[in-house]
Symmetry: C2
Subunit: 298 residues, 2 copies
């Protein structure tokens, strides 16, 4: 079977159960970050790796500083999804020999700018050659309070679903310049009990079913109320992907209070109730246009 016939979720589902675990691992592969026990009481360690590939996540002609920003911002967005505080980054650059030093330095400038913006220190840098497209891989370590980390699996039937910001139309530009929602996520878990959360990287249509599935529930999506980026259709908001906004589930009884406090704290960033989790597993599931799925034919 070829990869393009599988899709990333099914691929990982085949690979991950074979991995060994031990008592230090709170949450292994399959969520936004791995969660492991660290030596500091009351705190957990978060680990995340992510990569971007030329020709897939950016074009050869893309501004290299934006490439660097995106490479760092993507795993930062996964930290936001868990309400974690990132601390250290390791960077691997795999670059064809035809790239210029100027290009690489500009990528590093973008990496470093994104790192500094979130108090992250790049502590390791590796390079390798490749006879093919450039690949930039970033690994992050950091921490989260044991009572504040949020995974995908804690959603409950009747929870209200929210998204931050606006969705759709991340190409040509927004996917390179987004802001990881770490500040917003930290505020959320400081003031509210967030049941489940993730960042929207593959599009609501692919990511919402993942959150619901991890929580063992179904969902209902009010497509008519989705917060759209200017010029976007609802279909784009569901399918385009690379929004890097937060999707989260919270008890319906917190909904009004949350929206009121949010408007005061983040007046410029919309927070939109887009539906709810439902008791039956596959309610409305099939109505969703699928979002971006790695490897699969569109």
């Amino acid at each position: 079977m070829k990869l393009r016939e599988i899709g990333e979720d099914r691929l990982l589902a085949q690979l991950l159960p074979a991995l060994s675990r031990n008592n230090s691992v709170v949450l292994g592969a399959g969520d936004d970050c791995a969660v492991v026990r660290g030596p500091k009481r009351g705190h957990l360690q978060l680990l995340k790796t992510d990569c971007i590939v030329e020709g897939i996540h950016f074009a050869p002609a893309t501004d290299p500083a934006s490439v660097g920003w995106k490479a760092m911002a993507r795993p930062l967005s996964d930290f936001a999804a868990m309400s974690g505080l990132p601390q250290f980054a390791l960077v691997t650059m795999v670059v064809p020999a035809v790239k210029t030093l100027t290009w690489i330095k500009a990528v590093y400038r973008g990496l470093e700018r994104a790192a500094r913006a979130f108090d992250v220190v790049i502590v390791g840098g590796e390079t390798s050659a490749i006879r093919g497209p450039a690949v930039i891989s970033v690994s992050l370590t950091g921490s989260v309070e044991g009572d504040r980390w949020v995974g995908r699996s804690g959603g409950k039937a009747n929870d209200e679903l929210f998204v931050t910001g606006r969705l759709g139309g991340s190409l040509p530009d927004r996917h390179l310049k987004f802001t990881p929602r770490i500040e917003e996520s930290r505020w959320l878990t400081k003031h509210f009990s967030i049941h489940a959360m993730m960042d929207l990287s593959d599009g609501l249509g692919a990511d919402l079913p993942r959150l619901a599935k991890a929580s063992g529930v179904g969902f209902e999506l009010d497509e008519a109320v989705l917060p759209l980026n200017p010029g976007c259709t609802t279909k784009q908001a569901i399918s385009d992907g690379e929004d890097y906004e937060l999707l989260f589930a919270i008890s319906a009884r917190d909904s009004v209070n949350l929206q009121r406090k949010w408007r005061r704290r983040f007046p410029k960033l919309p927070l939109t109730p887009i539906g709810r989790l439902a008791s039956s597993f596959d309610t409305r599931h099939s109505k969703l246009t699928p979002g971006y799925v790695h490897f699969q034919k569109r």
Copy 2:
């Protein structure tokens, strides 16, 4: 300037000084692992990322389980270089859509086998597509006692230089099946004061000058005594690379005792004194055949 005209050391030398640092960083990019302060008193955290690329570090037809072993064993070897204990791994696989699920699963089997052999848990797995060769990136976190970590920069003039095992001829097979010297390294720092250490990935001819330069000293190499793999020439032992043996510097007064104790503890693995660090920076430097240098023309 194109990358192939630069070489990895000069490239990193251009990139790394621009990176920010803070008080948590004991040792940033440029050594085998990054060393950062963790929350556990007396212990430091080690971070390392490394990747292997199809067509550079392995061939398309290479046994995929061996590819996985190598991808995990390389950063483990960097932990050995610092005398660290690895704990968690993150794996990123960037694979062209034509690869089969069978191939990926076999790579994962190799990754997992190497991880288990050194008590490492794979806690995160990412995949991405690429229109080009496969790339497998592994990041490791772990720890080391604050009084036992070893970098490259502590070597002193007149220190004796040792290598473990035998050198040269790592192609076609040995570069896929080597054993990271973590056990040996942990034993070394438990019983001796090791001044400087690194693993030999690019060949003694490239790596020994790096260790000497980091320590601010020169070196003398007794080429005639190099421990050669069967069928290898001295030139190969210096230039082939991918030996993944330890190179370290220790006070000459510990030399006899070290060799005696080593033979008792590791009777099957040679430990060979191959020269010494010297006071002047570039003594004998120029006599070395260069080892493998990424990006550079040979």
